[in-house]
Symmetry: C2
Subunit: 202 residues, 2 copies
């Protein structure tokens, strides 16, 4: 990817990303034009192409970085939890809490990542799905450990991992911070539901 | 909505809907043109407008009928379950099974319903959300009954209903009938996960 170095270039690139996430979440990727995006950022359309040679490259960058940031946030949360409680139940609690917190703080990027996969070419789609699989592997490992220590009761590790991820990612669809529950209350309730779902023993 | 009566008109309208669901699921609503849809159906673009005066009207019809069919499928499944077991656990089992079966048989329509809400005007969006709320109310009623009879242990009925719906709708994202599990096995495992999630007593 062409990347202009130096502070001004980095600022412009960051502004493009931020505006693109907002516009794509609101209008949809297909409906957004590069001209519209340039207008939002306040640059000429030609300038965008210095940072993102194609519109698909822009989408791919947003999705790839979203997944890379999610994986990094889990890798950062994970060792801290291991010090407190390396048992599967503790790791699962950290996974759920980190996942909800991460997605609530990046609602638009999450919508883009979940809704626009069909606009990627096969090769780029495969690369995003590989990142997702890497992240989901972390959850599957926790579930397998819980089953092997007898702490969890799970019929099917793959199905259970999908069920948990879809349940906890779904929070961003309906949760509004200004409404009756705080993000912490929501995370706590989802944690308790997840523990029951995996048949965790107290 | 303009509706041409008679057998040929009905057949054309059904062909338009079917082609539209497939095209929108594949390309996205914004990316699909009425001209493209007409080509797929094998009619002139002008003919489409006799059935659907605007592109948004077409999307709205697809989404509204998807939700109406879902509600009808539940209303049909519900009394049968009540004869066998009117207890909340039995009704919840029927709800989960019906929801998964319905969505697996209409994957493309489900994708359209889940991904294209942003292309509806406020008024039409409100009408679709009202249908969703009516369906979700059915699940919330089951959960409340389960809590009041002491069969379920649920911290928050609204949150639990959202968690269950997102978990069981998510099946269509990853489930492929040709892979290792049958639709029945998947429905059975999701039923067991749901029962644990609501803290159901055996």
């Amino acid at each position: 990817m062409a990347r202009t170095t130096g502070s001004d270039g980095e600022k412009t690139e960051a502004a493009i990303r931020e505006a693109a996430v907002g516009l794509i979440a609101r209008l949809g990727f297909e409906a957004m034009s590069m001209r519209q995006l340039a207008g939002e950022v306040g640059v000429q359309a030609a300038a965008l192409y210095r940072y993102f040679p194609t519109k698909e490259e822009l989408l791919y960058t947003l999705m790839r970085e979203h997944m890379e940031d999610l994986i990094a946030s889990w890798e950062e949360a994970r060792p801290a939890a291991a010090l407190i409680d390396a048992a599967p139940a503790g790791r699962l609690a950290t996974f759920v809490e980190n996942h909800i917190r991460f997605h609530l703080s990046r609602r638009s990027a999450t919508h883009v990542s979940n809704l626009e996969l069909r606009s990627l070419s096969d090769e780029k789609l495969a690369s995003i799905l590989a990142l997702r699989a890497r992240y989901e592997d972390e959850l599957r490992a926790i579930l397998r450990d819980g089953v092997s220590t007898g702490q969890f009761k799970v019929e099917d590790v793959r199905l259970t991992a999908m069920a948990i991820i879809q349940m906890i990612t779904g929070v961003i669809v309906w949760f509004r911070p200004e409404e009756r529950l705080s993000a912490n209350q929501v995370a706590k309730t989802y944690h308790m539901m997840t523990m029951r779902l995996v048949g965790a023993r107290d």
